[in-house]
Symmetry: C2
Subunit: 297 residues, 2 copies
DNA sequence: CGGCATCCATACAATAAAAGCATGGTAATA
DNA sequence: TATTACCATGCTTTTATTGTATGGATGCCG
């Protein structure tokens, strides 16, 4: 049983005649007659009333005709949609983003650009820290993630650097450090620091600590936080100073000031990460948009 | 492009393996591999991710799989429905009935029996006089009709007698005729008659007049009416007497009495009429029900 | 009234499509 | 390292579909 037979049937109904439909298709009339008979046999009902001046629909044929037309239309739609999904133009894309970056203009611009270029791909953005994103990617719960420090040389995951951020010192507006901006880490000896809790982002935390220790500097931590918004508020409240990726300063509260330090040159790459098997074509499109925007500082 | 390919695809998805699906179908594995490839070509997208331990759906394949399953299910439904329509078990039946008979218990019983036996055939009952029903039948605006005096030896229409009614004299309850019931038409000479307007039901009217004249009786008509309910009310109001099919007395108002006359023996057959081509199978079912109930007096 | 054109149906030959068979490559497993 | 299960490919056989020729029936028009 064949879609072809349905198409033949529609043509015959439209023409009101087997012969004329056969000329239109084109097909030899006996072949068409035969296919109609096969269709009727497979349906188990007479669909066409044969007469001298052509054929007309029976009641059953009329109902079947409506259904056949709908089925063919929907089949074409299904094929078209499958093509669009395979091309990354349609579907759903589950994207992980760290809270920290949801506010960053570059990321917002990227997401907006993607939405505009691929309006039929519905972006499901989830705010997750880096490590959970990696896990979710591996378990096919995310299709792409924006995170720091993806696993190196992973056989499943592939990544692309979206943006290379640098770190800045953040102090409260009225503080002594704001009035006399330091130039080096060494000048921060003895200052109170608000620091990321290690458990939240262990890789970031360890890399930062390591970078500082290489400069012979160990911060005096008076408070720990799990997200940058909270931490910036603590800084604004005068609890101490902190180190932040520069990007995240965009949404910072009023009472804080960022200061670039000469020897704080650690590069913090924000990576777009996805499964190497490229299981979801829309991910490729996201990578394309990211590359075309070239968010590099 | 083939429904068969869709079924193959579903089997493969269900089994998660081309080889296993091939064994299930059953089909040689290379044949299945080839049909899948053809399907993918026709869709224009890769639907299955081939690997060592079987196949899995791509994003496009997953969406297409849902659609394919739906399409196949709906195709089966369409076939099934067509069969049921062809068998008269499903669809719509437009039935004409004269107002006069809508109230008659025999007819009500017939319609109820039909509804019960064929609950999926929706009866669209239209109240029409006999002549308009014949016209509507010819123009395919009705599928069947219940009426008096269908055209004889019609090449389009066929008919079946539902019920042979007889005529009765109807008088008002308190009248002289009610107190001293006449036995023959001759006794009605000089009585005031309420009569059917000829234009409403010319055939019935003419036959009735003709039957009376054969008995040498000509009614003295004081009032004409187009429907029996009105006419019975006029009788009840004492305007005169009338002649009615006995059947229609069921719904008659309180103030009337019917009297059988010995020489008023004209038979009034209520006919079920339909197009001979039996274009609508449900009509055959209606005829069956009518015959099985055998409404004959 | 009788050719003529136009339907749809049938029979049979030609062609195209699908299936089967044999085989190969590859990766996981024991 | 041999085995097994998987999918892919080449070739042959079988099946399905189409085309050609033809027939019967009916309506049209000279």
């Amino acid at each position: 049983m064949d879609f072809k037979q349905l198409r033949y049937f529609l043509a015959v109904v439209e023409e009101g005649s087997i012969s004329r439909a056969a000329r239109e298709i084109p097909l030899a009339q006996p072949a068409l007659t035969r296919q109609l008979r096969l269709l009727e046999e497979s349906v188990g009902a007479t669909l066409l009333e044969r007469s001298r001046h052509g054929v007309s629909l029976t009641a059953a044929g009329s109902a079947f005709h409506r259904e056949a037309r709908r089925l063919l239309r929907e089949f074409e739609t299904a094929k078209h949609d499958a093509r669009r999904i395979a091309d990354g133009q349609l579907g759903q894309l589950r994207l992980g983003v760290t809270v920290m970056h949801l506010w960053v203009p570059q990321i917002v611009r990227l997401l907006n650009q993607f939405r505009q270029s691929y309006p039929d791909v519905s972006l499901k953005v989830q705010s997750l820290l880096s490590a959970p994103q990696v896990e979710a990617l591996r378990h096919h719960q995310l299709d792409a993630g924006m995170l720091f420090f993806p696993p190196q040389d992973d056989d499943q995951l592939d990544s692309h650097c979206l943006y290379e951020d640098r770190l800045v010192l953040v102090v409260s507006k009225g503080s002594r450090l704001a009035r006399h901006p330091p130039k080096t880490l060494a000048e921060l000896t003895g200052e109170d620091f608000i620091w990321f809790e290690r458990s939240a982002t262990p890789v970031y935390h360890d890399k930062l600590i390591h970078a500082f220790q290489r400069r012979g500097f160990t911060p005096h931590v008076v408070q720990e936080g799990t997200d940058n918004a909270t931490m910036l508020c603590l800084v604004a409240a005068g609890m101490g100073c902190t180190i932040m990726p520069e990007m995240t300063m965009t949404g910072a509260p009023e009472g804080v000031v960022s200061i670039a330090l000469d020897d704080l040159d650690m590069v913090l790459p924000l990576m777009l990460v996805w499964r190497r098997d490229a299981s979801l074509p829309a991910v490729r499109r996201l990578i394309d948009v990211a590359e075309s925007l070239a968010l590099s500082r």
